[in-house]
């Protein structure tokens, strides 16, 4: 909540990090406990809520809607692809600095980051097997219904309900979980001949598809440089002491899907490489753990449904 930090506090945090002991007892490479649940909003195509112990609370929802394709006027690209539209909003109640228009800059920054990492397509033809998927991993061609006319648009909206540091990681973890949970109705396309097509959305709630390429979605690891060392999962006070911040987006296979440097300080090239490498390994471990839990949750829900039991989501009642 505070935007100010005293020199004594700053020194305490700095010296602690040098000794690998952070203010709350963690080591530099330790994450706080993450609680995650999918399917918390019934009227969406997919949703997830991520909470990091210490206060960060992010709600991500995915709504699949049908809309016209967007063709790039220069490259002619996009006629046979769906779209992903991301937006991040920080609720004014999340933190005192978000009151009124205080969150505008942060909202813009996070929205741009999400858009860049998740929906930009690579124009590099040498990437053969993933040519139809962008850095975001999701197969956009599969989202197309009628080439040149209609496609699925996935609206990914993240709402930051509470601020406790490390928003970027929470938002991307939530986005990955929400897309993992997303089910898109099947469509039936009829060729009326003469270049005319008609399609129908099948209304069967049981007969839906997962988003193809959802396993390849990246998550982000935020590394904060404090002093000569870097830490992950910064608390709000540690974020105030940060000289430079590096956000590394990495996917399951260890590929780098994007990165962004923030704050005013500089990073030495050798440290930069070390941070990227560290971010990559941490990210891969995180994805493995995340996927294991998501699969566990999905299997448990499926088992309950098959037994005819109702599936109760804790949602906002989760402690």
């Amino acid at each position: 909540m505070p935007g100010l930090i005293s020199p004594a506090e700053r020194d305490y945090i700095l010296k602690g990090i040098e000794c690998n002991i952070r203010a709350d007892g963690r080591q530099r490479a330790d994450y706080r406990e993450v609680t995650l649940e999918t399917g918390v909003i019934s009227q969406t195509s997919g949703s997830a809520r991520v909470r990091i112990a210490g206060g960060t609370d992010v709600l991500v929802s995915v709504k699949a809607e049908i809309g016209p394709v967007q063709v790039d006027p220069e490259t002619g690209d996009g006629a046979d692809k769906g779209q992903i539209v991301c937006s991040v909003e920080c609720a004014p109640s999340a933190s005192q600095q978000f009151e009124g228009r205080g969150a505008d800059d942060l909202n813009n920054e996070l929205t741009q980051m999400m858009t860049r990492f998740l929906s930009n397509s690579t124009s590099n033809p040498s990437v053969s097997s993933t040519a139809s998927a962008g850095a975001g991993g999701i197969n956009l061609s599969k989202l197309c219904i009628i080439p040149g006319q209609q496609c699925w648009i996935l609206f990914v909206d993240a709402l930051v309900l509470d601020y406790g540091g490390n928003l970027v990681d929470a938002v991307f973890m939530g986005a990955r979980a929400a897309i993992y949970d997303t089910r898109i109705p099947k469509t039936e396309v009829q060729d009326l001949g003469d270049g005319q097509f008609e399609f129908e959305v099948l209304d069967d709630a049981e007969d839906t598809e997962f988003v193809e390429g959802r396993e390849n979605m990246p998550i982000c690891v935020t590394l904060n440089k404090i002093g000569a060392r870097h830490i992950v999962d910064a608390s709000p006070l540690e974020e105030l002491c940060t000289e430079a911040r590096l956000v590394v987006a990495v996917n399951r296979s260890g590929e780098l899907c994007g990165q962004q440097k923030g704050h005013d300080g500089g990073i030495e090239p050798s440290l930069l490489l070390e941070m990227i490498q560290f971010g990559k390994t941490t990210g891969q471990t995180l994805i493995k753990q995340l996927d294991a839990r998501l699969q566990e949750e999905a299997d448990a829900d499926l088992a309950k449904r098959q037994r005819g039991e109702p599936v109760h989501k804790l949602g906002f009642f989760a402690q």
Partner: protein, 147 residues
Amino acid sequence: MASFVKQTFEPVVSTNLYPRSQIDIYLQVIQQDGGMLQACINAATLALIDAGIAMTDYVCACTAGWIEREAAIDLNYIEESSDTSEVTIAMLPKSGKVTLAQMESRLHVDKLEEVLSLAGEGCKQIHQVLDKTIRDRAEDLARKMAA
């Protein structure tokens, strides 16, 4: 919507106890299936009590409308968007006074009394639920503090 909530709570919150300060009520709608204003008012009541802000009474809200040939309370989105009239009432349960009555559709004046009284009944039901929740939580907190 925000101005409705504001005018509903202004007379109920004892602002004279909090001079030179501002009370911000943030309402975040995550998803809705009809009855948004009533849910906002009920949620704001609970939040204000949870914050420990002094109020003269609970504010309980309920919607009621006329569907086909009958009055009904708590209309959902499909019922709201079809050609039914709907009125939202906010009431102070101790005195029975109505602090907000909002309606945007047409309703025959003969049916108004039945709809309003039904909404009042709904408010009393909501009051019981809100009161029970607050008391359970207070007991829970008291137990934890005493331990």
